[in-house]
């Protein structure tokens, strides 16, 4: 009796371990082995630079309208731009492996070359520029506020938040910036994710949620009831760039692809498709942005 129970436990553990191993192996892990085998025949049809292997692209999984994992498919503006650029580099859609690039991991993933490029609401900043390369920018967003529609007349910008409560995700500096620069008397709630902020906003414990306007627009559209809206008075400039591993040879080609996307109307179509129904339009003075020079 005792022995058979032990055997059973061992069996269950072994099955569990197999299942876990299966989970881990499936997404292809990165840029290596899995891509090499199945694409041997494609090399002649490639546009050129790419070679036969697949392309691993880091995106956000949790930002509706930008980078969002919906079952097995990926949707959003970042995903559309990434797919377009990859196509111009000579990779078909099924050669792209999307992996999750959380904010805190992005530099590390690029430095270790776990990904070939990152499209993940990745603002170009000086400190990031020191450790990774950027192509783009392909979009200029701005920090803005998401509010309940009934407050539309009362909250017109960060200055009107004095005495009100503001939500952001922990570790993001956007809420602190509002408190320091615009509204001393605002109280901050920092939670784990934007969905929790939306919950608090609907419940009324906070009066506004802050981050980049296009992210807020996606969240408002995802909430769906029309009870939330973006103020529409951005008070910062965030240049979304394409993160590349340091010294990557792809920068010029990515820039060329983005420029082509601006010129042939695909960029505008992607913006429209992904912000449809949110009433959000990107800042026309800054968009589409002028591309930076690639580092030599």
């Amino acid at each position: 009796m005792r022995r058979s129970r032990l055997t059973m436990v061992a069996g269950v553990l072994a099955v569990g371990a197999l299942a876990l191993a299966g989970c881990q192996a499936e997404p292809g892990g990165g840029d290596g082995d899995t891509g090499g085998e199945n694409t041997g025949g494609n090399e002649e049809t490639d546009g050129g630079d790419g070679g036969g292997e697949g392309l691993t692209i880091g995106i956000k999984y949790d930002q509706p309208g930008l980078g969002f994992k919906d079952g097995d498919t990926f949707t959003g503006f970042d995903v559309d731009v990434a797919t377009y650029v990859a196509e111009k580099l000579g990779y078909s859609a099924d050669q792209i492996t999307f992996v999750e690039a959380q904010s805190a991991n992005r530099e590390t993933m690029l430095e270790n070359e776990q990904v070939d490029m990152i499209f993940a609401t990745y603002s170009i900043t000086d400190t990031r520029d020191e450790v990774v390369d950027f192509a783009g920018p392909y979009f200029v967003a701005g920090q803005d506020l998401l509010i309940r529609s009934e407050d539309a007349g009362d909250i017109t910008g960060p200055e009107s938040l004095d005495g009100r409560n503001l939500c952001s995700v922990s570790g993001s500096t956007s809420a602190q910036r509002v408190k320091d620069e615009y509204a001393e008397g605002t109280q901050l709630v920092e939670v784990g994710g934007y969905s929790e902020c939306i919950l608090q906003l609907i419940q009324g414990t906070v009066d506004a949620v802050t981050t980049d306007d296009i992210i807020l627009a996606g969240l408002a559209a995802d909430e769906g009831s029309g009870a939330l809206q973006v103020v529409g008075a951005p008070f910062s400039e965030e240049n979304y760039g394409v993160g590349l591993p340091p010294g990557s040879p792809l920068c010029e080609d990515v820039n060329a692809a983005i420029q082509e996307m601006f010129d042939d109307g695909a960029w505008e179509a992607a913006v429209e498709a992904n912000t449809e129904g949110t009433g959000y339009t990107p800042n026309a003075d800054l968009n589409p942005p002028t591309l930076r020079e690639c580092e030599a």
Partner: protein
């Protein structure tokens, strides 16, 4: 490296660790009190108290701390209106202490119960024989010996508590792990050094606690 030290000096790192230490202090005291009461429930001769104690321990011990903390900030505060202060930062701090307390009380209870098991049955029998009721025999005979036998496991719970204070980041308490994320966000060129700094900070806090626990567990052990 000198640049990195300049970057570090721009952030209030000691202040952030101080929040973790305060969380540990208050949650530790409250959880030890609650845990002692629970342990008494569990060793008491009253079946309903036994049941209450073991139900509490089994539920709280098996619920992830993150969920307890998020429950605090997403349900307890906005829906059930449990509010410790009008000032958000103060309110969230005490909600965090509450979450840590109810969670770690279960572990303190079990650590203490392991101490109770080191007390020979003869001690309890002798206490009964001289006519002490349950509460007196627990207070005067069993628990003092149990605490001395449980120093090492209690120390382990305290160490776990210190490290778990970072989980209250999910409850909007501005402690070291939130500061770390902020630093990573702003100073992406020093990601590894930032992680390393925060980790070393915890080692500096935790190692003395571990040494103290080992020392006391030897010093205070009941020699039999």
């Amino acid at each position: 490296m000198a640049d990195f030290l300049t970057v570090l000096s721009e952030y209030d790192i000691a202040g952030a660790y101080w929040v973790n230490i305060k969380l540990t202090f208050f949650a530790g005291i409250f959880a030890l009190v609650l845990g002692t009461i629970l342990a008494m429930f569990r060793i008491s001769p009253v079946p309903s108290l036994n049941f209450a104690g073991s139900t509490y321990v089994n539920i709280l011990r098996n619920t992830p701390l993150t969920i307890i903390i998020v429950f605090g900030i997403a349900v307890l505060w906005p829906v059930l209106k449990v509010e410790f202060s009008d000032v958000f930062a103060v309110n969230f701090f005490w909600l965090g202490v509450l979450g840590l307390t109810v969670y770690h009380a279960a572990f303190f209870c079990e650590a203490l119960r392991s101490g109770v098991n080191t007390v020979p049955a003869g001690q309890a029998e002798a206490a009964r024989a001289i006519g002490l009721p349950f509460l007196d025999s627990a207070r005067l005979v069993i628990l003092p010996q149990a605490f001395r036998g449980a120093i090492a496991p209690l120390g382990n719970v305290v160490i776990a508590l210190i490290k778990n204070t970072t989980v209250v980041a999910a409850g909007s308490v501005a402690e070291i792990s939130i500061l770390m994320r902020e630093m990573v966000e702003n100073e992406s060129n020093y990601v590894y050094l930032i992680f390393l700094t925060v980790a070393v900070g915890f080692v500096i806090i935790v190692v003395p606690v571990g040494l103290l626990a080992t020392y006391l567990s030897k010093r205070l052990a009941v020699s039999r």
